[in-house]
């Protein structure tokens, strides 16, 4: 009867919740506060966290800049659309380490633009991040555009506004939440990326304003992995905890 259905679905759902929630709970519960504080005060960790937020931000902004116009085109429809859609979605299913290798083939030595180097540079880092996160910016913006009733744009056009004005006054404002969501999703995806970055830019030099000059650091997930390999679970856990806190803030922005 009705109750058994609810009990059955709730049980199955709860098991998944445990599988997802329990490790997170254990992870937080098993932290050593002293170690977390030590890591939180470590200038190396500061640099890593700065790069782990700043690099992804650049990638997300780039994704939005070029992704929003593409999303608008996709929402309106054009010939050859399925091919473009496939290309946009492909990074979602490319294995992360393969994505890094693809970028090295495309933009690395012997690639399309020999004049700039991507291996182990900030350019490579942002490029790797943009490659994996652009689909999120495009798809979220596209959904926002598609959710707008065509007739609102018709109403704008017939009452005198051209394409630009219609975008500025109607389509843009109505889709802005979706664009922001897309940007934040792209940001979060870039923050979490490990494989492509590990291949393309294991560690990079970048301008660090708090030091007033260039420093070398690794992208945060790479640093966590590195710490795990060199320092073990305990130590990497403390760094991971700090990174997770940063991710959680971005996550709250998404919701």
């Amino acid at each position: 009867d009705g109750t058994s259905f609810t009990v059955a679905t709730a049980t199955a759902g709860s098991l998944l919740m445990v599988a997802l929630g329990l490790p997170l709970f254990m992870f937080v519960a098993r932290q050593t506060p002293a170690l977390v504080i030590e890591k939180a005060l470590d200038p190396d960790v500061h640099r890593v966290l700065y790069l782990g937020v700043y690099g992804p931000l650049l990638a997300a902004l780039l994704s939005l800049l070029f992704g929003v116009p593409l999303a608008h085109l996709l929402a309106k429809g054009f010939s050859g659309q399925p091919l473009v859609e496939s290309l946009v979605d492909l990074p979602l299913v490319v294995p992360h380490s393969v994505a890094g290798i693809i970028i090295l083939f495309g933009f690395g030595k012997g690639g399309a633009f020999p004049q700039f180097s991507v291996l182990g540079t900030m350019v490579g880092l942002v490029l790797a991040m943009a490659f994996v996160s652009a689909p999120y910016a495009v798809n979220a913006s596209r959904e926002a555009f598609e959710a707008i009733d065509d007739r609102l744009e018709y109403a704008s056009r017939i009452h005198g506004a051209n394409n630009w004005e219609t975008f500025r006054r109607v389509t843009g404002p109505l889709a802005v939440r979706g664009m922001i969501t897309g940007g934040v999703l792209a940001w979060a995806r870039a923050v979490s990326e490990f494989g492509a970055v590990a291949v393309v830019a294991y560690s990079v030099e970048f301008f660090y304003p708090f030091a007033g000059g260039t420093v070398t650091a690794q992208h945060a997930p790479v640093f966590v992995y590195n710490t795990y390999l060199q320092g073990g679970l305990e130590e990497s856990g403390a760094v991971a905890f700090l990174l997770l806190a940063v991710s959680a803030v971005i996550f709250l922005l998404v919701r």
Binding site: R151, Y154, G160, R169
Partner: protein, 342 residues
Amino acid sequence: MTRLTADIRSTFTADGAEPFTVDAALEVESNETCVVLGPSGSGKTLLLETIAGFHEHTGVVTANGTDITGQPPEERGFGFVFQDYALFPHMTVRENVEYGTRYRESSRDAAELLAELGVAHLSERNPPTLSGGEKQRVALARALAIRPSVMLLDEPLAALDVPTQQALRDDLVDVLADVTAVYVTHNRTTARAVADRIVVMQDGRVVQRGTPEDVFERPASPMVARFTGANVIDLSAAPSLRRILDDDIGSQARSDGSGRGPVDRDSGTDAADHVAIRPEAITLNDADGDLSATVERVVREDATSRVTLAFDDVTVEAFATSPPVVGTEVALSFPRDRLHPC
């Protein structure tokens, strides 16, 4: 003071649906209202949107003789009222009404228009908080604010409840009196209330065009008759009516020698085996009735009752202010000048 013509051919392909072709022409004289009447899926909205410039098409649209086919919507100077209002949800009522005014040299004052339409008190509200009738008044004001040369209206009353429909219809009649307009609807009462001329569409094509009188009294096909609320009688199923009409033709042939009765059954098409007559033309309990019919059903309407009557193998509808009792026999008269082959 704009004369509008459109002669449009366009095929629309929606996702997963059969392609649908609209192939229709209409002409609207200055300050006239042309109603496009047809069932859902007849392509009347697509025709209207094409006139507005929203869809690519072949054919020609002219305004005052100027070919505007290639103009984008924003250069046509038309106003458009949508069935579901299409108000900008992120702007206030006033901002909605003023939306198009910045693009026009001459425009109307938003406050004044809202006051005329009885919604001045809503000007700082946001559209999602309004009732359907209020929204449509605002949408009407937005279209009127740009002093459109042509008003295009897509079933503006369809989403409203009956009392709101009637109130807004009265306002629409006033507004449309002095502007060229194309008005799309499936409601025959609305059509008759606002139309100077009517174009009836079916399956993307025009099946009849004419004055309301033409279309309502002389429907070109059984479909038009049905859609305008006229009775269609298949004479082969109604021998007693056929006999009477044949007698008429005989006696008329004898008296005026024309050989043609008022019901033009000799026009050479099979369709002439059907005649159309409006329910309000049939009189009940006439002393001098043409034939006798059984009362099958009586439905009370506002001013009168709609009576369904059966004779031979057909049923017809008629109106009666004092409705007869269901199951009784009544005499029916069919005024000859209101029977039309179709």
